[in-house]
Symmetry: C2
Subunit: 350 residues, 2 copies
DNA sequence: CTGAAAGCGCTAACAC
DNA sequence: GTGTTAGCGCTTTCAG
C-alpha cells in the first residue's frame, strides 16, 4: 500500500493552491470556486486517483464521521438487520459504523467503549442497556457523550430510546392464545436486568389479569438463549403442578428452547402446548413447527436510532425522545386451539 | 462531546514534554523513560481521563489500525460468525474492522471500497469474490492494496485465500447419500460466477462419476437464497422425468428452499427425498426436519483471514498462501434411506 | 475567487 | 532519559 496521492499533488497538477482544491472538492464550499478551476481540479483529482484522507480531515474538523455501535453478540440473529438498518441510514450521509460485541461482559464492554473513544466516534448506539448503573452507558452519559439506546433502556439514564412496542406485542400474543381457548399461560421471560424483559413480563401479567379466567405465570430465564429457554421449560415440565397449555417466550430464542424441551419430553406443538416467540427473527418460519411470533421492525429500529443520533450530532446536543415502533403478531403453526377445550379438531378429555 | 484532553494537557500536568508522554504511554517505547516519570505520567493521564486520538496517531504513522471487510449481506447467517472470528483476532491487536455490505451490487461495492480507502484502512478482507475481473478486487490488486479473500476466490487475482475444504465436504455428502442407497442425486448449485459454486459442483460431479451406478445432476440456482433454491426445486419437480431421491444444496439456504418446495408439493423429507445443506449455519438443527449439512468453520475462517492479513500488513508485502480448513458432515434427520429400496429397517441389496 | 499561514494531536528524528 | 523540532494531510481563518 504505497504512499497515496495527497491534496498537494492535486494542487500542483491543477496549478492552484491546496486550499482551493479543498474547496473545490467539498460540496459545501464548491460554489466558492470558479466552475472552470473546479473542473480542472476535479479532472486532476480523478487523473491522480486522489482519495481524501478522512483521518487528516477528522483531525482538523474534530469529526470522525464514525459512530460506535455496541451490541451483545452479532451472532444473535436479532442484530444483523439492526446493523443493516443503521448502515442504511449512515452510509449515504458519509458516516460509518464501528461495531463492537460485548458478549454481555462488563470488562469487554468497557474495553470496546474505550477503543471506540480512541477512534473519536461522534456518538454511540447502545443495544446493551442493563439495569444497575455501573455500565458503560452511565459513564458515557456522564462524559457528555452523545448516544441513543436501541431496544433496551438503561435505568435512569435519559438517552433517547428506540424500541418496538413490546407491551402491545405481548397483549396481542396473549389475546391470540385466549381466543384459542388457552387459560393457563406461561411466560418465559428474559433476565430482569434487561428493560425489555421487565416491560414484556409486566405487559404479560397485566394482559392476563385483565381477562377473566386466565392465569398467567412468569418464569425468568437465565439468559436470552435457546439453552436458557430449554432449561426453564424443563424446570416447568418437571413440576407436577398444573401444566400450561401455552407459552410465550421473551424472545424467539427462548421460545425455540421451550420447543426443544417439549420435544425431549414427548410433547407436541401445538397439539399439547402452543408456543409464541418474540422478534420474528430470521428462519422463525422454518422451524418445526413454524413459529407464531411478534414481528419487531428491527431494520427500522436501526434506521431510526441512526437518524436520532445524527440529529443529536448535528445539533451538538443530546435529545430526549423516545420512539416506539409498531409490532405485529405473525400467526403460524406453533399455536393452536387448546386441547381439552374448545377446539374442533382435537376433541379431548385430558 | 466537549473538547477532549490531549497529550499536551497530560504533559503539562506531569511536568514533562509531550514527547515523553507519548513514549511513556506506548508499550513499545515505555522502557525509554524512567519508571518514575512513567508512573507520574500515567497517573496524570488517568486523572485527566486522557484517551489518545488514533486519528492523529494514524496521520503521523500512516497506519489507521483498521481493516475493511466487504461482504455481500450481513443478514446472511454465514457471515456473523465470520465477522466475530475476524474481530476476535483483530481486537487484542489494536485493530478494528470496518464492515461494508454490497448486496451483490457492483456500484455499491465500489462505493464501499472507496469509502474504506478514504478511511485509509490498512488492508481488506473480501468475502465477495466473483469471476469477471471488473470487480473491486481487481482494482484493489492493481492499486497494490493488501487484502485476503475469504471463502470465495476472485478469478486470477492472486490474493491469499481462506476457505473450507469444499471438495471433501461435497464428497462426504455424496458418500453419505450413496450409503443410504441413493442413486439419483441432484445438486442445486449456487451461481457459477462464484468460485465456491464451481468448486462444489465440480466436486459433486467427480464424486458421483467415481461411484458406479450413481447419477448426479447439477442445476444452477439464480442466487444463494431460499427463494432461488425453492424455485430450482420447483422446476425440477415440475419435470416429468426421473426424480432425484436426494438433493445437495450449494449452501443451507438453497437446501432450505428445496425443503420448502418439497413441502408445497406434498413431498416428505427424508421419506420421499433426502436433503443435505452446506455450511451448518445457525438453526440448521431446528428446521423441519433438522438439516444434515456440511459444517464449515466460519469463525475460524474469519480468524485465519485476519491473521493472514495482519501478517501481510506487518511484512508490508502481499503474501501468496492458501489456507483450506477442514469441514465435517453433520448428519441429522433430513437424510434417510432411499425409499423403495435398500436399508436395513429397509432391508437392502446395495 | 484564490493564496498564505496556522494548526488539529500525535510520533519520530535528532539533539543534549 | 528527556526536550526540541518538524511534519503527517487536511480545513479554515484571514488577506488580498
Amino acid at each position: 500500500m504505497n504512499r497515496r496521492t495527497t491534496i498537494d499533488d492535486v494542487a500542483k497538477l491543477a496549478n492552484v493552491h491546496k486550499a482551493t482544491v479543498s474547496r473545490a472538492l467539498n460540496t459545501l464550499t464548491e460554489h466558492q470556486v470558479s466552475s472552470e478551476t473546479a473542473k480542472r481540479i476535479k479532472r486532476a483529482a480523478r487523473q491522480l486517483g486522489y482519495v481524501p484522507n478522512v483521518m487528516a480531515r477528522g483531525l482538523r474538523t474534530s469529526l470522525s464521521m464514525t459512530i460506535g455501535v455496541i451490541i451483545p453478540d452479532l451472532t444473535n440473529p436479532f442484530f444483523p438487520p439492526v446493523i443493516r438498518g443503521i448502515e442504511n441510514f449512515l452510509q449515504p450521509r458519509g458516516y460509518t459504523a464501528l461495531l463492537a460485541n460485548t458478549d454481555g461482559h462488563d470488562a469487554i464492554e468497557v474495553a470496546a467503549f474505550e477503543s471506540l473513544l480512541e477512534r473519536r466516534v461522534d456518538g454511540f448506539i447502545f443495544a446493551t442497556g442493563r439495569h444497575g448503573d455501573q455500565t458503560v452507558v452511565a459513564r458515557a452519559f456522564e462524559a457528555n457523550v452523545l448516544a441513543v439506546m436501541l431496544n433496551r433502556e438503561a435505568e435512569s439514564i435519559p438517552y433517547p430510546l428506540v424500541t418496538g412496542n413490546d407491551a402491545s406485542g405481548i397483549a396481542a400474543a396473549v389475546n391470540h392464545l385466549v381466543e384459542l381457548g388457552h387459560r393457563e399461560i406461561l411466560h418465559i421471560a428474559g433476565p430482569f436486568n434487561l428493560s425489555t424483559s421487565v416491560v414484556r413480563s409486566e405487559a404479560f401479567t397485566t394482559s392476563c389479569d385483565s381477562i377473566r379466567g386466565v392465569r398467567g405465570r412468569v418464569i425468568e430465564a437465565a439468559s436470552l438463549s435457546i439453552e436458557a429457554g430449554q432449561r426453564s421449560m424443563d424446570d416447568v415440565l418437571a413440576e407436577n403442578g398444573m401444566r400450561p397449555t401455552a407459552v410465550i417466550g421473551g424472545n424467539d430464542l427462548l421460545a425455540l428452547g421451550a420447543l426443544r424441551s417439549m420435544k425431549s419430553h414427548g410433547l407436541r406443538c401445538p397439539e399439547d402446548v402452543s408456543v409464541i416467540g418474540f422478534n420474528d427473527m430470521i428462519f422463525a418460519e422454518d422451524f418445526a413447527p413454524p413459529l407464531t411470533t411478534v414481528r419487531v421492525p428491527t431494520f427500522d429500529m436501526g434506521t431510526e436510532s441512526a437518524r436520532l443520533l445524527l440529529r443529536s450530532i448535528e445539533a451538538g446536543v443530546q435529545e430526549q425522545v423516545r420512539i416506539t415502533l409498531p409490532v405485529s403478531l405473525i400467526v403460524r403453526s406453533s399455536t393452536g386451539p387448546v386441547s381439552g377445550g374448545s377446539a374442533v379438531d382435537f376433541p379431548t378429555s385430558l
